[in-house]
Structures are given as structure tokens and as C-alpha cells.
Amino acid sequence: MIWGPDIFILAILVVLAIAAVISRDLLVATVIFSGYSLLMAVAYVQLNSPDVGFTEAAVGAGVTTVLFILTIARTARMEEDGS
């Protein structure tokens, strides 16, 4: 049995994912999501896939985040109340 990505990384990933989902401030959520992607990239590299890690870092943490931010800039920053 190998312990490729530390079980820690996986745990933090789950925590970050939950945080990104429940955060009501979309900008905060996006930043958390960016961190999540970066950590995911680290996990990929740990799993011996530097190519994917590289791409995920550039796309997930980079471009996707920028696109999310642009969207938030052009729409609303906060989630509306469910009522």
C-alpha cells in the first residue's frame, strides 16, 4: 500500500471543497476554490502525474478562477437569500 498524496492533502481538499460550497460570499468561495485547485494540482503531482498537475495549476487555479472572478465582477458578489 502506498500513501501517495498524504491523507492530509485529501482531508484538506474535502474541507476546502465544503468551504467553497457553503461560503455565501462568492468571491471568497472563488478564492477558496482557487486554493482547492492548487492543492489538487499538488495531489496530482504527488500521484506522479506532473503533466496534469501542471495543467490543473494553470487552468484550474488560474484561468478558471479568473473567469469566475470576471463573472462575479459582472454580476453579483453575494448569494441571494433563499427566501
Binding site: A58, G62, V63, L67
Partner: protein, 142 residues
């Protein structure tokens, strides 16, 4: 987003201007070394695109667009798949299967193969670069 995200901060503007070429250079490196180390056309395209995104964030959209005009982007967008497809068609014409790089065409197959693979990588890079920047500009608005 016509204004820069950071206002008229001189330091940010200068650093962005300085850093952008290096990012682009790094992108080119990734592109060229795709066949020996992680990376390739797609990653290179994203990296170079991010330099323009950085410029747009630091200097404002108009200046960024000034450096990467629509008239240049438009042919670049199509070039990747077009190069891909045309190389494939060339392979067919040379008597192979679609995308069979190892064909004898002016040079020995191994050389042709290397050239064509590089061409494909460059094509991918160009398209990804142009497309991501275009998407970014379109979503950033005026």
C-alpha cells in the same frame, strides 16, 4: 473593467510589464520542451494567455487588447485545429493514415515526424492562447 484592477499603481504596472515577457518566454519553453518534460502545447498556450490576462488586470483591458489585436487573434484561433487537420490530410495524401506522422515527405520519416509533432504542439498552443484570451476579453466586457 475598462480600468485597471489596481488603479494607477505605478509599481504594479511596471512589474506587470516586466513580468509578462518572462511568462511568455516560460510558455515558449514549456512548448518547446513538451516532449522531454511535463508540458506541451496546451499548457504553453494557457501560460502565455495568462500573461495577457495579467496585463489586462494590471494595465486595464484596452492596453492589453492593444497588444493582442482582434485581427491577429482571429486567424490564431482557427490555426490550431486547422494545422492539425491539414497535417492529417497531408499524411493521407502521403499515403498514410490520418495523423500518421511517420511518413516520408521530403525528409526521412523520423524527421518529418518530429517536425509534424512540433507543428501540432505549436498549433495547439496558438489556438489555446488565442481562445483563452478571447474568452477572457469577451467575458470581461468592454
Amino acid at each position: 473593467m475598462s480600468e485597471s484592477l489596481f488603479g494607477e499603481d505605478v509599481i504594479v504596472r511596471t512589474i506587470a510589464r516586466l513580468v509578462a515577457p518572462f511568462i511568455q518566454l516560460f510558455g515558449l519553453y514549456v512548448l518547446m520542451h513538451g516532449h522531454v518534460s511535463p508540458g506541451g502545447g496546451f499548457q504553453a498556450g494557457v501560460i502565455i494567455a495568462s500573461s495577457f490576462i495579467l496585463l489586462a488586470l494590471a494595465l486595464g483591458l484596452p492596453e492589453s487588447k492593444e497588444r493582442f489585436k482582434k485581427t491577429i487573434r482571429l486567424p490564431m484561433e482557427s490555426s490550431g485545429p486547422l494545422i492539425f487537420a491539414l497535417i492529417g490530410v497531408t499524411c493521407i495524401l502521403a499515403g498514410g493514415y490520418y495523423l500518421q506522422y511517420g511518413i516520408a515527405f521530403l525528409f526521412p520519416p523520423a524527421v518529418v515526424s518530429a517536425i509534424l509533432i512540433s507543428a501540432v504542439e505549436i498549433g495547439i498552443g496558438i489556438t489555446v492562447l488565442a481562445m483563452i484570451v478571447t474568452i477572457f476579453y469577451a467575458m470581461a466586457g468592454d
